[in-house]
Symmetry: C2
Subunit: 257 residues, 2 copies
């Protein structure tokens, strides 16, 4: 298996960073008013296309990747030959936080949709973060966030019905889109039904059926990879039984951005 990624540097670092939506939480460049301002990592954003791989399982760990646009899925191949999806990564997410521990990538990371990512050499990142409390804090925050998200997902999978899982899945994406300033009702799902099924621990057929059922119930309108949420409230009702540990109440949801 060869590295299939088609990697194209775009523009210069300065111009892309200045317009980057995630500049305030960038791991490569502290804020201007930070004591460590001036320290930074040279970053070359890359554009990748559907089917490209950022990395594959067991390759030596070099970079973590911040997603600026598009969507990445991480997965492993079980020894049965099946693919098991581990996660989906959208703008603002960091890919390969799980590789730090072992020094090797533990997943495969495939691009679902034309994406822009910033590769950050982990060694450099460590040195930078050792000198910049702000960067260090950002990295740890991101990792803690990932742990929280995983726990939320465990709750979803711990729930029994396929409807609840699907509703929670859609709501998760709805919230993410809202955070990005996009519509929370018009959701794009760049992954296949098989990917969703694997992720939610369901059969492909069940995913299909559940979407149909939710549509017939008037909660949403499904068209290919686009889902329009019609009745957000009731969709929330279906999913919310499992969401208390999560972000809903105005309790700890500090904006941070």
């Amino acid at each position: 298996m060869q590295s299939s990624a088609q990697i194209i540097p775009i523009r210069t670092r300065e111009s892309t960073c200045n317009e980057c939506a995630f500049r305030a939480e960038c791991l490569a460049k502290p804020d201007d008013d930070c004591p460590a301002a001036g320290l930074e990592i040279q970053v070359t954003p890359r554009i990748l296309h559907r089917g490209d791989h950022l990395f594959r399982t067991a390759e030596p760990f070099q970079n973590i990747y911040t997603v600026r646009s598009g969507a990445i899925k991480t997965y492993v191949i079980l020894q049965s030959g099946e693919e098991q999806v581990i996660g989906f990564h959208t703008p603002g997410d960091i890919v390969a936080l799980d590789a730090i521990y072992s020094g090797r990538y533990v997943c495969n990371a495939m691009v679902l949709d034309t994406s822009c990512v910033c590769p950050l050499p982990y060694e450099q990142l460590c040195r930078l973060s050792a000198r910049s409390p702000e960067i260090q804090s950002r990295l740890i925050q991101k990792m803690s966030r990932r742990i929280v998200d995983h726990e939320g997902l465990l709750l979803v999978l711990g729930q029994k019905t396929a409807e609840q899982r699907m509703a929670a899945f859609l709501l998760h994406h709805s919230r993410k889109q809202r955070q990005l300033g996009l519509s929370e009702l018009d959701i794009n799902l760049p992954m296949s039904r098989a990917d969703i099924a694997s992720y939610l621990a369901l059969a492909v057929e069940t995913v299909s059926r559940v979407l149909t059922r939710l549509q017939e119930a008037g909660l949403l309108i499904v068209e290919r990879s686009r889902v329009r949420i019609v009745d957000l409230d009731n969709l929330t009702v279906i999913a919310e039984e499992i969401m208390d540990g999560g972000p809903p109440a105005r309790r700890g949801a500090r904006g941070l951005h």
Copy 2:
């Protein structure tokens, strides 16, 4: 709700740290040959007993806790009133890494078995880690490890059969015990069947049945909260289909077909 933890400082910091099994990976005290040696956090280990809580959901985040001995479970209360177990924490683990993000504890943490924990004030930890690359690296390693573990758990829950989940669960504990220098065949399960069921997303009855089935198959001997693994190889065979993403186990282990 008041804090119910019975908290007893034991001995002086120096004596307890010198004999601590996890000194080499301690987040409060760098190695003697580290450039940051001399910097450290004053730690007061605490002994807690079954039923005590380290913290509860929504309490403001102050400390993370390293587990030196015993066992802690983290869980949330769903709005149905049911308890959903998030994780079990044994010696060497860190509790409350998920609270960093939001600044509040997102789980409840209950002691399952008389335990010794070191509370580490997060603010102090941050300051220390900003001055000690070694401490910073240890913390990030721990967080990455947690993320890897979560992904392994997602694989387990993604699997369909109850036997596979149970086998994976037992093997996980077996490996942890081995890492601690304890027997990998004689496993202590300080949590209730209901806890296991919740954690593995199964019914209590199923957990009971599966244990019985595995015992009748001659793979293990169950007695109360103690499980003796009789046929580690075959237990591994049952679980291994899902373990490839996991730790870099040597391949020779799979004997029987």
